[in-house]
Symmetry: C2
């Protein structure tokens, strides 16, 4: 029999006994340092073979205890339901693996209690670093990590407790606003009718996007109306309602609509689906974040993408030679990505 049929995992002791060598030799062979200790290649091979035959597999708990290195890299995020977070998770996993770390990502549903308990759990597991994305307030989590001596990095949300990697929402907002204004002008529409809908007043990303929206307007000498920005919240229902209100008042949609999130965008789609189908033809729409299907909806839509690849790379750079005092804020450009890039990754057999 190739592997022990009992449930118990085999240990280096088993391998040592089976090969008639000592645990130290086995240990060295198994983690590749045997060349440095001039162990006979023959011995090494014998051990390697036995290990395989026994189905041996290092116990990272024991190794971690000994070395105080767990081999775990942690990331917390709210959920996987949109492309941004799903992309963050994916990229994080890839990069962690390529560094020999085992990625462990957990969703918190934006529940602050869960956020804290998840962080504590990850710290208990002795993750070697923690990336924190999309929490309400990262500072307490950063503090927990700091107390444990674990580097933490905030993703896409600035914090006072650790360095942050941020999307350049302001420049992105300015760029997409520019595009929408151009489109409006090309249609002979009125660019100061453009409305920024969704988001939460006082929240970082919304603030930056509003600033970018203003930047673009100012640069054109436009003066958006008083209610050009409506922080009605990020969720779909709120956005649908806000838009319904405007529609009821003006008996038409705004000529231009910049939605502050893919969920707000969803609310807009849901509302406009209740209208006669040609109502939308006279509106140009933009959105922060994207979805592969959104591009095929029956109206003019422009979408912006955050560069998750870059965000994660920068975050890893920050963790190497981590400086606990460092409160750097790294800005990552945002732009119009090729829409199918990600979808094309879908391989055969992908149902």
């Amino acid at each position: 029999m190739a592997s022990k049929s009992t449930g118990r995992k085999s240990t280096i002791y088993d391998v040592a006994k089976a090969t008639g060598s000592s645990t130290a030799t086995v240990s060295m062979v198994l983690n590749g340092t045997w060349a440095r200790y001039r162990i006979k290649e023959e011995t090494a091979n014998r051990i390697l073979e036995q290990a395989r035959a026994l189905g041996y597999n290092v116990n990272m708990k024991a190794r971690g205890l000994r070395l105080s290195r767990s081999g775990l890299a942690g990331m917390v995020l709210p959920h996987y339901r949109n492309r941004f977070f799903a992309g963050l998770a994916q990229t994080f996993e890839d990069q962690a693996r390529s560094r020999g770390l085992c990625p462990i990502v957990v969703g918190t549903q934006r529940d602050p209690d869960v956020e804290v308990s998840v962080t504590e759990t990850l710290l208990s597991q002795r993750v070697e670093l923690l990336f924190i994305a999309g929490v309400r307030n990262p500072t307490p989590l950063n503090a927990l990590c700091a107390a444990a001596g674990v580097p933490s990095i905030n993703l896409d949300l600035p914090g006072d407790g650790a360095p942050s990697v941020l999307s350049d929402h302001r420049a992105g907002a300015r760029a997409i606003t520019d595009v929408l204004i151009d489109k409006l002008l090309a249609r002979g529409g009125s660019p100061d009718e453009l409305v920024l809908l969704g988001g939460v007043a006082g929240e970082y990303a919304t603030g930056m996007r509003m600033a970018g929206f203003r930047d673009a307007s100012d640069a054109r000498g436009l003066t958006p109306s008083a209610d050009a920005m409506d922080c009605c919240g990020y969720n779909a229902a709120a956005a649908a309602e806000a838009l319904a209100g405007r529609y009821a008042k003006a008996s038409r949609l705004p000529a231009g609509l910049l939605m502050n999130s893919i969920t707000a965008f969803e609310g807009m789609v849901r509302f406009t689906a209740t209208l006669p189908s040609d109502v939308l033809k006279s509106t140009v729409v933009g959105c922060f974040d994207w979805d592969p299907f959104a591009a095929y909806l029956p109206f003019d839509v422009t979408m912006l993408r955050q560069d998750v690849q870059r965000i994660i790379s920068e975050a890893f750079v920050l963790t190497e030679n981590y400086d606990p005092q460092n409160r750097a804020r790294v800005l990552v450009p945002t732009g119009f990505g090729k829409m199918f890039e990600e979808a094309e990754q879908t391989k055969e057999f992908d149902r």
Copy 2:
């Protein structure tokens, strides 16, 4: 200072020293068994308080080593890019947490090498159970787990190496085919023009869906044409191409289209977006899996949902009192879910 400023984590020794008690006492207090050992409540409180003040946090590596229980629950899946896998991950995390386990889910990009190495890594971390979803062939992974004495469950893919929890693709396919046939009849269309597009011949899910498609046709006494099922693959590009071929030949779209995955559906959308907008009006479309935006595309679409909640629950049930000999296949019904259910979970602050 409330917490040690040094990077080193405090241990039960630190807590013991600080409170003038012994490590055993601290240990008992900290894991709640102190009542059974008749330790004074006052002592317990003092210890608890010190522990908090020191920022103490159990070292799961050490505890796990001692108890051979890691507190980790593992899950492997291909990616988070569709609602099915994202939902599986989410639900798994919730349920694992509610059982006091730390969820650790990793994406493999459907790369068999990654699948193996990820499984080995998780086994090294001594996960207490492993759910395996969306791999090509689960059996070798099940074998690795079995050798390590770790229960493994296959999700949505049957395997010979462990029990499986499966969506009832056949009944689902039959149900959605029925709906499409009804819609075709209502429009005065010809129901045997219905086409099942996408998927891989010989693959389990595709096979079941084909069977369900046939079931529905048979029940109506219909005889679909020879090319009514086209296993052109799961990815978007392939589906787009296949559909383009049919369109070129017949100079119109089939009257009914049942897409074998959300990615194949995406391919269809991508192709039809290149056609005059009214071409689609005469086609009814169905899809396995769903996306919140797909429902708003400008044609008649019916979507099916897999019950991830149920799949994960059944999987957890199987792991409790795990029987290594058990090769059960649990069938979970598939149906037309309320489309916005999941989207409505989106909370405020969700950009």
